[in-house]
Symmetry: C2
Subunit: 455 residues, 2 copies
């Protein structure tokens, strides 16, 4: 028996119109959990449930809700409700919202924001997608070098409440970023201390045009709670907070994994992507890889007569191809991940190749030896196939060695090459490597067979 | 021409013994960057460079340095230097250090810590690896419900400086966790306000035994800067901070990606893993998958006579196998990622299968149709292979449809099945799925060929 979920309890209360109990339960919940419940409801229930929430919880939960239900909600909102929600949203969340919504909703949102906010929204919208500028919020606390700690606290109290983070304050001079001071520094300094004395002038910042992945990894590398975003003249224009950076890292990881699996990436969760859309994300690479398999077909056709003379060779084609593909996939995926974590740089290409050559020799050697024993023991003796002679086993195992060696070499060098010419290394993962390695493996197989078996 | 790197500048100054310039440059640097420089130096330079750092920067940088160089440094440290570093390290970093070091170094570290710290270290070491307990730090600020905001600030000032985070304070009663209050709440409340009035009683916490991945995803889900860790009786024993959670997410992602690529995961970066060690991480799955390819061999051997009668069929084996493998890989990787992000739950199994069935039918259909055209146009007309008849094309394309359909079905259900029985779904990725799909594809191929071609 499954446990009754909180969602079921809430929907039961809702259907039985026990609204006061429902309100009491939801008021105790966390905004993220409330958002989950609302997302799981359907149709009209979404807006009805949302309206049962205490006002502040409702606006907080709104930011966590999926864009599909956000759209439903906004469509049902009165202008006053919409204004209340938008007022409470952080600016970067509003911008995210606007980017997801259809034009008529965007118009309604912009109509319900004051002119200053609208201006800020438009500025943020002008930054290229996936840039630091598009990710940042302009809501941060800035101090001056000649302010005292006491004045700083007054400023934080005055503006801090609505700011997405106040735990790091940025010190500016003529809008240029000259230092940072943490709330902890302020708390442990005397009231008369001047900011210029306690600020850290060694500021880690990113540029508005930097890729959001760079922003997230920089923030992670230096263990920051927020990172300032500056323009070309080192003027601070916003900050990116750690929670947004964490989301970026998760999204980028998902994107890399999808690319590695030959899927065109999508930023929607599995069940939010329709069947046809899923098909569209998967078919391009499947088609391309299928058509490029024409080469393997041509190689086999070229050696058709030889294969007819020694049909036993066919039985080991799948094993050779799969082992080559797996060995190449291991290398390519390791290198792709290393590149994306910054463990491997372009200039490391020779060390990478030299290492993979040695790993390839050992892996290929061990696999070939084990396979030789396996073919004579299992295929010849146990399964009783007299066609599996020592010569056949030798041909297969030599090919195995060559396939693994070449696969490791191609698997490690192609992703680095891709990065060097400006492509995303992640698309050079297993499926792509497999197609190339297959062709080389088959060629090697037939040439070794010709040489050793005189067919 | 490459740019001169900061590392080269520093090493040049170092070799020319310009120590005062060197000190001046390094004093301006961030601890994480200093750590990078020290890691890139070799042998004796590591300790010499480290000793040139201002004391506080040196201890901060130490926490960022790789364990290999940390060991070198500790070996070279005097007892006094060691004590200074350990005193400044956060407790969870000290525990990480101890877990990485050989026994003689561990003894030296423990000898140079006071008895209270030693006790805390031993407690932390007792938690299972990868648990919340092993990740947390016991250094947090706790308040009482009847304290005033003024008293709270006094407490934070008194103990806060050495705490890893003070931005969230935890309210306890008889050590049980009853609420949280953020520094922002404290700053915006009047000094006389009592904590019990402003604290949030809806506390998100994790248990000491929870897996560290659960800790990290919970923290990310609720956008927290730190998450409290409680024991079985809801007594707070530590906190996990957002920077550590971010590292966990990155590590877990790497681990998942490695498992998906049939590699035994390691937590070391690429260049820190030796050739033999890399071989050991890669060979087990290669061997297992190679041996399990015996089945595909057996299937081909079983249909050998038929294959000899119609050798043209062999040419399409690689394409069928690769397409099936790629199609299955797409599904399995999508489902594995969805499971790990929490987008997909075990109870969604039927919706997943129903969706993949529909995607499989469309993908399989499109691939089969395109392939039919491609075989007749490219293989028969352009490449002039008369053996590729419409019947052969039909056999290949029907198999293609079956292979893609079955691959999607197996690709989506095996990871969920693995999770249901307590295995890590990530090992059910492409290489594993490929092996199974290969066998089914070949069986389907030969059976369809038998039926349609009467061979």
């Amino acid at each position: 028996m499954e446990q009754t979920t909180l969602f079921e309890v809430i929907m039961n209360l809702y259907r039985r119109k026990k609204f006061s109990e429902l309100k009491a339960i939801m008021a105790e919940m966390n905004p993220a959990d409330v958002a989950n419940i609302i997302e799981s409801a359907d149709g009209r229930d979404v807006i009805a449930l949302f309206r049962l929430l205490p006002k502040s919880l409702a606006t907080e939960a709104f930011a966590y809700i999926d864009s599909e239900q956000q759209e439903q909600l906004i469509t049902a909102f009165t202008d006053r409700e919409l204004r209340e929600v938008i007022d409470e949203l952080f600016l970067d969340d509003t911008v995210d919202l606007i980017e997801e919504m259809p034009a008529n909703i965007v118009n309604r949102i912009l109509k319900n924001t004051d002119s200053k906010t609208r201006e800020q929204i438009n500025e943020l919208l002008a930054y290229p997608a996936d840039s630091a500028g598009s990710l940042m919020t302009p809501e941060y606390v800035y101090l001056k070098t000649d302010m005292t700690v006491e004045e700083s606290f007054a400023k934080i109290r005055a503006v801090g409440v609505v700011k997405e983070t106040i735990y790091t304050c940025y010190v500016t001079e003529e809008r240029k970023l000259v230092g940072v001071v943490s709330l902890l520094d302020l708390l442990t300094a005397s009231y008369e201390t001047v900011i210029g004395e306690i600020m850290d002038t060694n500021v880690i910042s990113v540029n508005t045009k930097d890729d959001k992945e760079v922003v997230a990894t920089t923030l992670a590398k230096y263990d920051l709670l927020a990172i300032p975003v500056v323009d070309g003249e080192n003027r601070i224009v916003g900050i990116v907070t750690v929670d947004d950076a964490m989301d970026v890292l998760q999204e980028e990881n998902t994107e890399d994994i999808e690319k590695m699996a030959a899927i065109v990436p999508t930023d929607k969760p599995y069940f939010k992507t329709g069947v046809f859309e899923t098909f569209l994300k998967r078919i391009p690479w499947l088609l391309l890889l299928m058509v490029s398999a024409t080469f393997t077909g041509m190689i086999i056709t070229g050696f058709e007569d030889k294969l007819a003379a020694s049909v036993v060779l066919t039985a080991f084609i799948p094993m050779l191809m799969d082992t080559g593909g797996n060995a190449g996939g291991q290398s390519s995926v390791t290198i792709i991940r290393g590149l994306s974590l910054g463990d491997i740089e372009l200039r490391d290409v020779l060390s990478v190749i030299w290492k993979e050559i040695r790993v390839g020799v050992i892996c290929g050697g061990v696999l070939a030896v084990v396979n030789f024993g396996k073919m004579l023991l299992i295929d010849r003796l146990i399964l009783g196939n007299p066609a599996v002679t020592a010569t056949v086993a030798l041909v297969v195992c030599l090919t195995m060695f060559v396939a693994v060696f070449i696969a490791k070499l191609i698997g490690c060098s192609l992703p680095i090459l891709a990065k060097a010419v400006g492509f995303d290394p992640a698309v050079m993962a297993s499926p792509f490597i497999t197609t190339i390695v297959d062709a080389i493996t088959l060629l090697a197989y037939f040439m070794i067979a010709q040489g050793l078996m005189h067919i």
